[in-house]
Assembly symmetry: none
Homo-oligomer: 305 residues x 2
DNA sequence: GTAATCCTGCATGAAATTATACATTCACCA
DNA sequence: TGGTGAATGTATAATTTCATGCAGGATTAC
């Protein structure tokens, strides 16, 4: 193995502290394997070495171990055989499997007594879970929100299937931002309106690009960038044909196993974005939200809940 | 790699704990690497594949990845070079190092609960679960779908915050229904357009009415009924100020504990509705979906995934 | 429409990893 | 002392993994 240097730190010392992290999971796996096997002296040294570095163990090659222990590579192979495996790779895969069980193993798979439509919803549920997990680090979202909040005006692009998303975002954001301009047509119209927004002081643009990715959106993003606008993109994958034309990418997974995809996760991301934008706004504009609500109530625009 | 079968599970099931497990650590490492790198289509597929299985990624060989992605092994090597590494092993060691750094941190980081934005997503998750459960009985959905599919034309109403939803439904439904007419303006316009639709043969209308319920929507629904149209309503509660003006009600719960609500569940319900509508359509119109897809591909409207 | 560029897979060679054959050493015992 | 057998290392073969040259094909630019 060439890059063994990257694996030499970490670990958790012989007196293994924190039970139940993944390393010790490999450790218990090893202990189980060693149970009731008669090992030769050098094989014991190998075992001891692995037990002391359960994290690295899963990555080490037979020569790595041999060198570290100060023995020969065939001895490592024979060590694997002595433990009942059919070769060193088989032994190592056993360790890797133990590590993986630890990582994924939390919740059990549920019985799938779901009808097709329910399966569809379930699929979107998982997408939302993924979104929630990626938001564990609030940095990127807050960063984008701040940029968007600071841009006056704020152009928002959504073409084709993403047009409703852009409008939805526009509707929410308008409560917190004085000048949101939704663009849902492509071609020269798009460039015209971007151009005007740029001239009016816009510093960045928000784009929604869900599958299937319109070619025209890519062109629009490229154009916006050349025009000096920072491009924030909401899409379903961190890397795709659109992402390379964006400065910041927020991902909201969508299902593609069904004929018609919903936009559950992107919709939630919209709400989260606007939510974050509010905190990036000056106080007097936060107040204007309340204002609108009140005036709307006065005009009896809405029915009682 | 011989024992790839041992690595096929993983991920983090339905009730997934939180961020900051080792897999997502590899994930963020990958994201950082991908940032600002121009990738070819097949390289993007590779990146996606790895992002979807961060746990396994650290163990995969270049041929493993190539086979899984359906590309050639040299493409994987080139992928590593494109990311600035000096070879595939170097790239893989980088990922492994990220994983190791995470393990040192131990279970401490895991204990952290959800941040506010995550709580928001979590709230929508529960809404989706409720939606899934209510769809356990496919009857109402199929019934509404059949009615909608049979109405020519099919008027779809969504005002204010629900306008994007109506447009989204319209976009999807247009693939399966020859004459969908989205109405997102209120007042006399609404009645005009409903009237024309009725004259053209419409038998029912679909309305989206999420909080806060526009007074004008209630008026519109009442008007539609008097005009002899059957009213199907998508809203958030089985009974509210709008439901009494509808013949059939489909409920899609939304959160109201946050300043800005997303439309996750209604969005999914849209997709489910259209999905069900397809099965209520004659075969030749189902075929027209494919047709559109093909013609769109021919016109190279979309970018490759 | 044509040329230039980029992308991609195939074939192949180089490097690394693992398994096996064989020789040597050492402990133990007659 | 010489024999026996397990243990271990050396050398090497077999397998796997990785890198690169080259040609065909697609896309873009002019």
């Amino acid at each position: 193995m060439k890059g063994e240097d990257v694996l030499m730190a970490g670990g958790q010392g012989p007196s293994g502290v924190a039970m139940a992290d993944d390393g010790s999971r490999v450790g218990v796996c090893l202990r189980e394997l060693l149970e009731g096997h008669r090992l030769s002296p050098s094989q014991r040294r190998i075992a001891r070495h692995l037990l002391e570095r359960p994290h690295e163990a899963v990555f080490l090659s037979s020569v790595d171990i041999a060198e570290a222990v100060g023995t020969s590579q065939p001895s490592v192979t024979r060590f694997a055989f002595a433990l009942g495996f059919n070769g060193f790779p088989e032994f190592r895969d056993h360790l890797r499997a133990a590590l993986r069980d630890g990582e994924g193993g939390g919740p059990a798979v549920k019985a799938t007594g779901l009808n097709p439509v329910q399966a569809m919803v379930d699929s979107e549920l998982r997408n939302l879970e993924r979104l929630r997990d990626t938001l564990g680090d609030p940095g990127p979202l807050a960063e984008v929100a701040a940029e968007l909040a600071a841009s006056r005006p704020l152009p928002v692009i959504g073409l084709r299937v993403s047009a409703p998303l852009a409008r939805f975002f526009g509707y929410l954001a308008a409560k917190a931002h004085p000048d949101v301009r939704v663009i849902d047509t492509a071609g020269s119209t798009l460039e015209d309106r971007l151009s005007r927004a740029r001239a009016a002081g816009a510093t960045c643009v928000l784009a929604f690009g869900l599958p299937r990715y319109p070619r025209e959106l890519r062109d629009g993003l490229a154009w916006a960038r050349r025009a000096g606008l920072r491009v924030a993109l909401v899409t379903d994958q961190p890397v795709n044909a659109l992402a390379e034309h964006a400065d910041v990418v927020l991902t909201a997974p969508v299902s593609s196993q069904f004929a018609f995809d919903s936009q559950a996760a992107p919709s939630v991301l919209c709400a989260a974005l606007v939510h974050s934008m509010v905190y990036a706004l000056p106080a007097h504009e936060q107040a204007s939200i309340e204002e609108f609500e009140n005036s709307a109530t006065e005009r009896r625009l809405f029915l009682p809940d």
